[in-house]
């Protein structure tokens, strides 16, 4: 088969010493910035672009790709250890990963994240290698109507993220949607809810919200109930997942990988929904669903696999259509253009070395990451034994620097503070931030696609049902909504008694 010849060509390129070195530099740097909250792959790749001018195109792209998926790895580390999601995809990892860390199970959580990601990365790379061109067509099938319906499904799923009141979770989703609308309206160019603050013109950054709602709120809440003399986690039991853990995670990893690979292909929010979707799916199918949100290992395994799989397959639209599916991919296009390569359908045929070399390097990079990260787990866990009074000012400094660097503007840090306040209030009122964050990310995308779909259909709402893919998502949303709502309604009476006790 062709594919083996192609992969052989690819590995021939990826395994040259220089390219291996570039890959290593990429994943190391990626892990570093992933671990540092706030400093994301976008800023790093942008800053490194000038350096890549002098590299050959393949080496440059291998390094940049390494930064991208290295950052995904690193991002989950901070999410698990200190509840700081630096990437939108690691928000879900916070939910159970951080709880595991609090229970002294940071080791298994980190190992699960690393191994799940590695497995997902391998499978997804294989998918990219085998099916990239036909899958690219899928991306073209998604228009505004399809995206809108997919997002509706995503939001319904978001409600499952919460383990408390259903009503409050829905409210938090809507609040997130509304906050996401702050900034310039895509359709009319009107500034909305900016109150004359020009920094709000481009909206509020995800990192700012996540750092505030998760990071700051958590620090403030921690400071109040524990004496800071205490160590953060009581006792670190073991580094490695137990036999029982293994039994619990293999299926979630598989499911997460496939869901992630599928959604990753979609530009415009697909990869993002992957981790949320995988979590929701597990919470619904798992027999341990009561443990979700309280440190269920499946809640780490599934989203981590999904997000890494999605990170790999999001290269499909880039490499085959020249369509960037997120900000990092847009930068990759910039990097390719600077190298005189026009990203698009002809890359695969005109520059097979580049195309297959990159795919092979993804696999190599994933292997490097797992080899690098597993030994690091021990070190990360040591970090948690540092007294909290030392740990939290350090986290504060990294957060502040990271958020400031987003646009070199003090305003973002101020906003982070405001969201910290909101997050703290939400902790007190038992309103969970995760559904809000998903709403926040999806809000503008949803509105944009809704309005665009309505413009294109000249105002006919049936467009969402007439298109088969879109109709499928709408039906799935309705079914999911029923599944979520029914037990909640039934449970309600029962819960009253439980809480009175």
């Amino acid at each position: 088969m062709d594919i083996f010849a192609n992969l052989a060509l690819g590995f021939g390129v990826a395994l040259t010493p220089f390219n291996l070195l570039m890959c290593l530099i990429g994943v190391l740097l990626g892990t570093l910035i992933g671990v540092l909250p706030g400093v994301g792959p976008v800023a790093t790749i942008a800053m490194l672009l000038p350096i890549t001018f002098n590299l050959n195109p393949i080496a440059a792209l291998i390094m940049l790709a390494g930064i991208y998926y290295g950052a995904q790895y690193g991002g989950s580390t901070t999410a698990i250890l200190v509840n700081l999601p630096g990437e939108s995809s690691s928000v879900v990892t916070c939910l159970d990963g951080y709880q595991m860390a609090r229970q002294g199970r940071a080791g298994p959580a980190l190992a699960t994240a690393a191994l799940g990601s590695f497995f997902a990365g391998c499978i997804a790379t294989l998918i990219v290698a085998m099916f990239a061109p036909p899958l690219a067509e899928v991306a073209l099938k998604f228009g505004p109507a399809e995206y809108f319906s997919l997002m509706v499904l995503g939001l319904v799923a978001a409600v499952v993220l919460a383990h408390g009141s259903l009503l409050k979770a829905i409210a938090m989703v809507i609040l997130g949607l509304l906050l996401g609308l702050i900034g310039t309206d895509v359709n009319s160019g009107v500034l909305r809810f900016a109150f004359g603050i020009s920094e709000l013109a481009d909206g509020i950054g995800f990192v700012t919200v996540a750092m505030g709602m998760f990071g700051l709120a958590e620090i403030i809440a921690n400071l109040e109930h524990q004496g800071t003399r205490e160590v953060f986690t009581k006792k670190v039991t073991h580094l490695w997942p137990t036999k029982e853990d293994w039994k619990r995670i293999w299926a979630p990893i598989l499911r997460g990988t496939f869901l992630g690979s599928a959604l990753g292909i979609l530009p415009g929010g697909g990869a993002l929904l992957a981790s949320f979707g995988a979590y929701t799916l597990e919470k619904k199918v798992s027999k341990y669903s009561r443990e979700f949100g309280k440190g269920a290992i499946e809640g780490v395994a599934a989203p981590e696999s999904a997000n890494n799989a999605g990170a790999q397959t999001s290269f499909i639209p880039l490499l085959t259509l020249g369509i960037p599916s997120n900000a990092v991919m847009a930068l990759m296009i910039g990097a390719m253009m600077i190298q005189g390569i026009a990203p698009g359908p002809q890359v695969m045929t005109e520059r097979p070395q580049l195309f297959w070399g990159m795919i092979a390097s993804m696999w190599v990079g994933n292997l490097m990451l797992v080899v690098l990260n597993l030994p690091l787990i021990g070190m990360w866990i040591k970090l948690l034994t540092v007294p909290y009074r030392i740990l939290y000012p350090s986290i504060l400094v990294f957060m502040a620097i990271g958020v400031f660097s987003l646009s070199n503007n003090p305003f973002d840090v101020l906003l982070m503070g405001l969201f910290g306040l909101l997050g703290y209030v939400c902790v007190k009122l038992e309103c969970e931030p995760a559904p809000m964050i998903l709403g926040f990310i999806l809000g503008p995308l949803m509105e944009e696609n809704l309005r665009r779909a309505m413009l294109l259909s000249r105002g006919d709402p049936l467009t969402f049902i007439q298109k088969p893919i879109s109709a499928g998502f709408i039906i799935a949303s309705v079914i999911l909504l029923v599944i979520i709502a029914l037990p909640q309604l039934r449970k309600k009476r029962a819960e009253v008694f439980v809480e009175e006790v």
Binding site: L32, S165, N187, S188, R192, L396, F398, N408, R451
Partner: protein, 151 residues
């Protein structure tokens, strides 16, 4: 009427406030448009209205179901942490990383239950050196290191 679930009560009020705010602000300031050509006010006012309605349900819940009390707010960590962040942000350019980090670390540490000057001072020095090496030297972020008047 007795408030049985204080958490639900305040959460409901918060949602209603946010919802009405977005609804009213959108309707007053932006155009509604039509379903074909939705104006900038369309989506936010629909969502704002929805949020207020759900907030009202949450509020009703507060009078029906018994729920836990709202835990006490601790203002010391809250104020100190937020103050530290803001101080850092607005002094980074004039005072450099060295000055701004000092403010953040000391004010932030003051938010904890325990404040040992020596320990915080050592932590500060370590953090500054680390930040300068990683962020300014390594990642080449355009931050000044020293206060502007010392350069």
């Amino acid at each position: 009427m007795k408030i049985k679930g204080p958490k639900e009560f305040w959460a409901g009020l918060m949602f209603i406030a946010f919802g009405l705010f977005f609804l009213v602000w959108a309707v007053l300031n932006y155009q509604m448009g039509s379903a074909v050509r939705m104006g900038p006010a369309y989506f936010p006012s629909v969502l704002g209205g929805l949020l207020a309605v759900i907030g009202a349900f949450v509020l009703i819940d507060a009078f029906v179901e018994v729920g836990p009390k709202v835990p006490r707010f601790h203002f010391r960590p809250l104020i100190m942490i937020l103050l530290g962040c803001v101080a850092f942000a607005y002094t980074l350019k004039p005072l450099g990383l060295v000055g701004a980090t000092a403010l953040l670390v000391f004010i932030g540490a003051f938010g904890g239950n325990e404040f040992k000057l020596r320990e915080v001072a050592i932590l500060y020095v370590v953090l500054v050196i680390f930040s300068v090496l990683v962020f300014v030297k390594g990642l080449t972020l355009p931050f000044p290191i020293w206060p502007a008047f010392m350069e």
